[in-house]
């Protein structure tokens, strides 16, 4: 088509970026790229009935008992951030993965990869935090390993923690058990951890007391299970990718739809301010001390009350419900009364200027 009065209005586009031949940071973001990595590489390599469930932990039978078994790596920088540090994260994160199956966390192992040049005072601080977190959670660190890599080959400290716990109930708690009519409960505010980290990131620094919410959640889980028992269908801690990604995952696994209320979400002033100026969506920002519980409607009130009685659940609320319509799609009624779909995060959420 030609246009005498102005430039040619053609469509044109670049060569598509198909499967990258290298790992990019987005593969660690917890969103679609991560899921893609798991589907393309991890599952084909190791597929078995336990792994294939892709829960945050595996529940395996050993000599008549049900053990929960999990591992997680922690690579955060900066090492020390408002509200915590990598050590505390490493302990709480693995405890939480166990807790989400309703297991009682018992023992942890920790593998440290230290970068040459790391001040031993930093190492001491991290170890002290790990000890304190383990003590607080009544969990024992029973074995571990330490390696050192050349300067430049590791980001100060990487920590991998592996945990085992015991399942002492007969409940079925899993990402594929959400059912239409269930209520979606969230234990508190969103976005605190991710924005606490962001506030320390070079070039994006800002002042303000955004603290990481890192916490061990097994006590809160206990309280919920005591109150609502087999009405509790799903438990998840929305870490990387935020509640948006986590709820989308649950909806997919359970083959159900969800409807959320934006007005029910709690976002602290500080987190909100930071998200607004950077153009980030709190729905997709990581949390380290919060959980989502999907509970049958008739016991949801009891579960909520139990959360309110617990230190880590004082600000818990019902943020939505599971529906039969639009399976695998999570919708949200927005603050002004419109509606939007909550998709999964695809890569790292980046600050924007638009």
């Amino acid at each position: 088509m030609s246009d005498a009065s102005g430039p040619e209005m053609l469509g044109s586009c670049p060569v598509p970026l198909s499967h990258p031949e290298q790992i990019v940071l987005g593969h660690g973001s917890g969103g679609k790229l991560t899921a893609d990595l798991i589907q393309r590489f991890i599952l084909p390599a190791f597929s078995n009935p336990y792994l294939d469930r892709l829960d945050d932990q595996a529940v395996v039978p050993i000599n008549g008992s049900q053990l929960a078994f999990t591992t997680d790596s922690f690579v955060v920088t900066p090492l020390f951030f408002p509200g915590g540090d990598i050590g505390e994260l490493a302990i709480n994160g693995t405890i939480n993965d166990l807790a989400m199956s309703g297991a009682r966390p018992l023992y942890l192992a920790a593998a440290l990869i230290l970068e040459e040049g790391l001040p031993t005072s930093d190492l001491q601080r991290v170890l002290d935090s790990m000890r304190a977190a383990a003590q607080k959670a009544a969990v024992l660190l029973v074995t571990g390993d330490t390696k050192v890599v050349n300067r430049g080959k590791g980001d100060q400290i990487f920590i991998t923690t592996t945990g085992i716990g015991v399942i002492e109930h007969a409940l079925q708690i899993s990402a594929d058990r959400a059912r239409p009519g269930d209520k979606v409960l969230l234990s508190g505010s969103i976005g605190d951890h991710g924005m606490a980290i962001m506030s320390q990131r070079e070039g994006l620094e800002f002042e303000g007391t955004i603290e990481s919410d890192t916490a061990a959640l097994h006590g809160l889980v206990d309280a919920i299970l005591q109150a609502a028992g087999d009405a509790v269908h799903v438990l998840r801690d929305p870490t990387r990718g935020g509640i948006g990604t986590t709820l989308h995952e649950i909806a997919s696994r359970s083959q159900v739809g969800m409807e959320l209320q934006e007005s029910a979400l709690l976002v602290r002033d500080t987190v909100k301010g930071a998200c607004e100026i950077l153009g980030l969506d709190p729905l997709y920002v990581a949390n380290e001390g919060k959980l989502l519980a999907i509970v049958a409607a008739d016991r949801a009130g009891e579960a909520l009350a139990a959360m309110h009685r617990h230190d880590l659940g004082r600000e818990a609320r019902i943020i939505g419900e599971v529906v039969a319509e639009h399976p695998r799609m999570v919708l949200m009624k927005t603050g002004i009364g419109g509606s939007r779909i909550v998709d999964t995060l695809y890569g790292e959420q980046l600050p924007r200027i638009c």
């Binding site: 586009c13 990258p20 990019v24 200027i353």
Partner: protein, 372 residues
């Protein structure tokens, strides 16, 4: 947050929508120019609130989407050079060039850093005198004053290891090109609120007179956009074509003089190629000769770049509002945010990405069937 939350009030939103319904008699096609407005519309579900007769189409207000492939390839070439720290706004990192994106280059060892403010680049330049710090200066007129200040201040302070790769684009020529196209369907505009904060209103007055089309300069919060739409509809229903300002709390007629002064002392208008659209004369900024020492294109002599475009996606038609994202057969299937075919899917601001993120890749009636 003051001046934010109250403009997201649901009761007042309903009030405006009711008034729009009361006033509207005929169907109208309205375009919002700015990517930030698109984002807000889709994030808050604003278009779902409007009566069926009002069609919102999304314009080319996404500087990330429209940055030419050549310039992106130049940025990549510079990032690859040893001793270079390439600084960029977050939006640009995932935009594909002919071969890959800045994220991929970073994974291969290039020093690519996200900055929030252009002044952060100067901090980096001062801290690393051994490196060449290059700032990928993109944006519309809103960002030009900030980018200009980085150059201006660097010159003043004698920071020699800093330069800019400039890819500024201007809104009025784009609106002009859209309105001048024989395929144009747009009958009214929401003008770009923050661009007008800087530039003032007079450029849009000229457009109103030339094309006899109502333009309402609007802000970005839901109430701003809804009120802006109401004002456009009122004009259209009464056959008026005027320039109005909805964003009165921030936009003044003459714009921001202090900002304009620095911009004109650092930049000059030039022709620019818009990705997905083509070259539009006098539609961009480049550094003035006095700032040649800060021009990364000069310093790095990236020269002729062979770019590869393939005519699969319809970004160009979407950028002009002629097509919607879901008119494109590739949308949501072979073209997704993690595998973008075109500019409008790449940027979080692009119409396709906004549509995808907020879930319009499934037509309302066919949700269940469309899901595999």
């Amino acid at each position: 947050m003051k001046y934010l939350d109250e403009y997201r009030d649901s009761r007042l939103a309903r009030g405006i929508v009711k008034e729009i319904r009361r006033v509207q008699r005929r169907p109208w096609v309205i375009m919002e120019v700015c990517g930030g407005q698109t984002h807000s519309i889709v994030k808050h579900g604003i278009d779902r609130l409007l009566p069926a007769g009002i069609e919102l189409v999304h314009g080319p207000g996404c500087p990330v989407c429209v940055t030419s492939l050549e310039l992106i390839d130049k940025a990549h070439a510079i990032a690859r050079r040893p001793g270079v720290i390439l600084c960029s706004f977050g939006d640009m990192l995932r935009v594909p060039g002919s071969e890959c994106d800045l994220f991929t280059l970073k994974s291969r060892g290039a020093d690519v850093r996200v900055v929030y403010s252009p002044l952060d680049c100067l901090k980096i330049a001062r801290a690393r005198p051994d490196k060449k710090v290059v700032f990928f200066a993109v944006g519309f007129e809103t960002t030009a004053p900030a980018n200009a200040m980085a150059a201006w201040h660097a010159k003043q302070q004698g920071i020699e290891n800093f330069s800019l790769l400039v890819s500024h684009v201007l809104v009025p020529p784009a609106v002009s090109a859209i309105l001048g196209s024989p395929h144009n369907r747009v009958q009214g505009f929401l003008g770009p609120g923050h661009v007008c904060v800087i530039m003032g209103a007079h450029e849009y007055e000229e457009l109103v007179v030339r094309f006899r089309v109502p333009i309402v300069i609007a802000g970005f919060e839901p109430l701003d956009i809804l009120e802006g739409i109401l004002m456009v509809v009122r004009q259209l229903e009464s056959g008026r074509a005027e320039l109005e300002n909805q964003y009165v709390r921030a936009v003044q007629r003459e714009g921001n003089r202090a900002a304009q002064r620095i911009v004109t002392s650092v930049f000059e208008v030039c022709d620019r190629k818009w990705r997905g659209v083509g070259p539009i004369p006098q539609s961009g900024y480049r550094l003035r000769p006095e700032f040649r020492a800060f021009d990364a294109e000069e310093i790095f002599k990236v020269g002729d770049i062979a770019t590869r475009e393939s005519p699969v996606c319809i970004s160009g038609l979407i950028l002009q509002g002629i097509k919607k994202p879901h008119d494109c057969p590739a949308f949501g299937t072979s073209c997704t945010p993690q595998n973008p075919l075109g500019a409008t899917m790449v940027s979080a601001e692009g119409a396709c990405a906004a549509y995808y993120a907020y879930g319009r890749h499934l037509k309302d009636a066919d949700n269940a069937a469309a899901l595999k």
